[in-house]
Amino acid sequence: MRIGVYVCHCGGNISETVDVKAVAAAAEQRPGVVLARDYSHMCSDLGQKLILEDIKEHNLDRVVVAACSPHFQGATFMNVLETGSLSPYVFEMANIREQCAWPHFGEPETATLKSIELTNMAIAKAGLDESLNKKTMPIGKRVLVIGGGIAGIQASLDLADSGFEVHLVEKDPSIGGKMAQLSRTFPTEDCSACILSPKMADVPANPNIELLTYSEIESVEGYLGNFEVTVVRRSTYVDPDLCTACGLCEDACPVKVPSEFEVGLRDRKAIYVPFDFAVPYKYLIDESVCLRLTKGGEVCGLCQKACPKDAIDFSRKSEKIRFTVDTIVVATGYDIFDATEKKVYGYGEYKNVITALEMERMIVNGAAGTPIRPIKGRIGFIQCVGSRDEQVGNEYCSRVCCMYATKLSQLLKRSDPTREVYVFYTDLRAFGKGFEEYYKRAQTDGVKFVRGRVAELLEDPVTKSVTVKVEDTLSRQMIEAEFDLVILSVGLKPNAGTERIAEILKLTKSPDGFLQEAHPKFRPVDTLKEGIFLAGAVQGPKDIPDAVASASAAAARAVRLMNQGEFSLDPVLAYVHEDICDGCSLCVDSCLPGAISISSNVAQINETLCTGCGICIAACPLDAMDLHCYANDQLLAEVEAAISERRDGETRIIVFADDTTTYRLADNVGTGKLSYAPETRIIRVPSGTRATPALMLKALALGIDGVFVGESESKSSPYAGIGPALSRNIEQTRSILREHGIEPERVRAKEFVTIMLGGFVAQLNELTAFAENAGPVSEKKKKALKETLANGLPRAEAQVAQ
């Protein structure tokens, strides 16, 4: 065995805290290691070359890099190995940046010791790496785009123009999204509808796009190259092929409800077109308010009588549409913050307090000669409503409200200079191209910008004018002034549609609740799920140019995958030690995807069905079931190495961190420089269920003081049935501990989502404190435990989690 070890400085990120030379020196002493070096940037060209040359010159057959998280640069190094004609899977990383240098940045000694052990663990695991080959699958040219706002439209057009087959699914009756509702767009003041409607029209005109409006995704099964999609297309009760949009039905309809498009400022009928440049421009009946459809029988039906084309059919049903795609672009956008949640501003109670979106519609309607209400006198904008505000639980900046208020305020001021227009802001963020110039223009035109966040609004019970209470923080004076109209610059927040899609596709969220990108810098439009991409404001607040840029980027990323014609399969799959397996079939029932069968008395794995969850491993009483890349002997070797440098009296906690959530959560904790018990050693596993009772017990028998298993919440886990499987594992482990007089609380598990930074830290600290208090497990008990393990754990009953 010839292992090369590389310790990275990360340009000081690591080496300022960790003694990298000491880490390399310690690594050099480990069995199998032929060389260990430290270098400033291992991921740089020169760093990669260094590895390549060493592979050649020193005949390396395994590589360990002690650097950042494998989620950060792992793929880079795996490519290097491939270039050097090695299997990309004879490679391990020790995450000494996110797990040592950052969380323990004030404690160089602790961080160094931990780095040495983490590197030792990676070396131990690498020693047992199998030289696996990449497997490939074919991939086609079909894409699902979810959401038909500007981002979804842009992505669809880009993809269709590049020759891909696009299915665009929009839940509303028309595409266009929020942009369709805007008056003009900052900073150029183009009329929003004028620049958007040609793009909207291009969608149905494009032969490569199948447009499904008024449709929702019911389910998506499968994986990259083979996503099976079921869409429910709701009934509009109007035959689109017959309807000429003459509007006679609308005139006849007696039911009026607030129009969604006009944010409730105007009414629409029960049979309606959403707006005058809707695509498709076809009438539909809102079944939740139509008299006939809510009351049944022969009630009303006036529209049907009025329709000259006989296009209306009350018996039309919603339909299910099924198709298969290779990649998916999620462009489900955002919603505005619900201003009623910010009670101090009285929205919904005060007559003269409105949202900016309402103002957009008022301006459009006013320009069209049908003003909704007079806009005159003293007008105030309040910034950061629902953003940058811990009192409503949103810490992030919504990025567009400063500029849209700058836009709306100067549109109002310029069209009628007698209006007194004020903008009350916390910080005025004009960071984009042309934004600062646009801000100056508003100021020059006479809009007054006041630096102060409005504390509360008070309505005069008689005149209904609104008193604004705010400090002008620049002059340090209190303002209590009356306004005729107050506009709330509401922030952007994740919407309900996204919530649902995230559940169906099992996508993870960042701490702000928007969908999480795979990498904040280098993979900003990828998700953690292969073949699924993000476009527009679904990933975080964005203005139109940014939404469009990200949509084109998502399209390009999807094209990049699909143009290859094939993709490589994840090798993390179950396999059977055929010499041990006695064909008992306990594993068969434990596997939810049904990947295991028994033939000629040994278990067989169907590799296209196996998801690599590892549940079957715990089910096997003989340790015959195993997992590539995370084999039993590899994990045990890591556990052993985790105490390789332990000094007397030190506690050691093993954390089995599932790769989807907990491992990334630990990365986030490190990035946030949050410190946690340095006695913890994190072992990366595909899912928490990979940590079997036998493995956890062996760890304790070896002298580990506590075991923690971190798992994804089932909502965001890519694996089925892990929740119950994990509880079974923990229960079994604890009951055996109890039998041996060992505190069962030494073994713990928790399901996380990637934003629970505080929870993660608290859990690890608690377990460490508990283990410290309890002291080491006595030699006698460890010995008894070892004996039990040698005799094999009792066969658990076949567990079916269906």
Binding site: V344, C384, R388, D389, E390, Q391, T426, D427, R451, G452, R453, V454, A455, E456, K469, V470, E471, D472, T473, R476, Q477, M478
Partner: protein, 134 residues
């Protein structure tokens, strides 16, 4: 007259001390002014509540000779509104404590005219004594 603000080591130490006594992350205040706009006593104060924080942030110990902290009614209006989750009432209390720990009382209850004193409910007197005397 424009004054020049001195940035000193003592100022840093003063800030650190107030942070410690109050338990609040004073440097996290982004000077939005919500506290001032919420404060019932702001119009009576010589400096606004947010300026009280600003001076503390910048280590300006003359904040101790302002009236504002003594006018704070510990009403927690600022506490429930601060977008950065800072509890200004604790910072005002810390500033008062620093003064009171010098054994100087801010009010003299005995000096209140007898008829007025008789009118005042107990909670007013005890509350005032707790906040204004050491």
């Amino acid at each position: 007259m424009t004054k020049i603000m001195m940035i000193t080591k003592e100022g840093e130490a003063f800030l650190a001390r107030i942070q410690e006594i109050s338990g609040e992350a004073i440097t996290a205040c982004d000077q939005c002014g919500t506290c001032s706009g919420s404060c019932p006593m702001a119009s009576e104060m010589d400096i606004t509540p947010s300026e009280m924080i600003r001076k503390t942030q910048m280590g300006q110990q003359d904040v101790l000779s302002t009236k504002a902290m003594w006018l704070c009614a510990a009403c927690f209006a600022c506490t429930v509104r601060c977008p950065r989750g800072i509890d200004l009432s604790k910072i005002a209390e810390a500033l008062r404590q620093i003064s009171l720990r010098q054994a100087v009382d801010h009010i003299d209850i005995a000096g209140i005219p007898a008829p007025e004193r008789a009118r005042l409910p107990q909670i007013a007197l005890v509350g005032a004594m707790r906040k204004f005397t050491s």
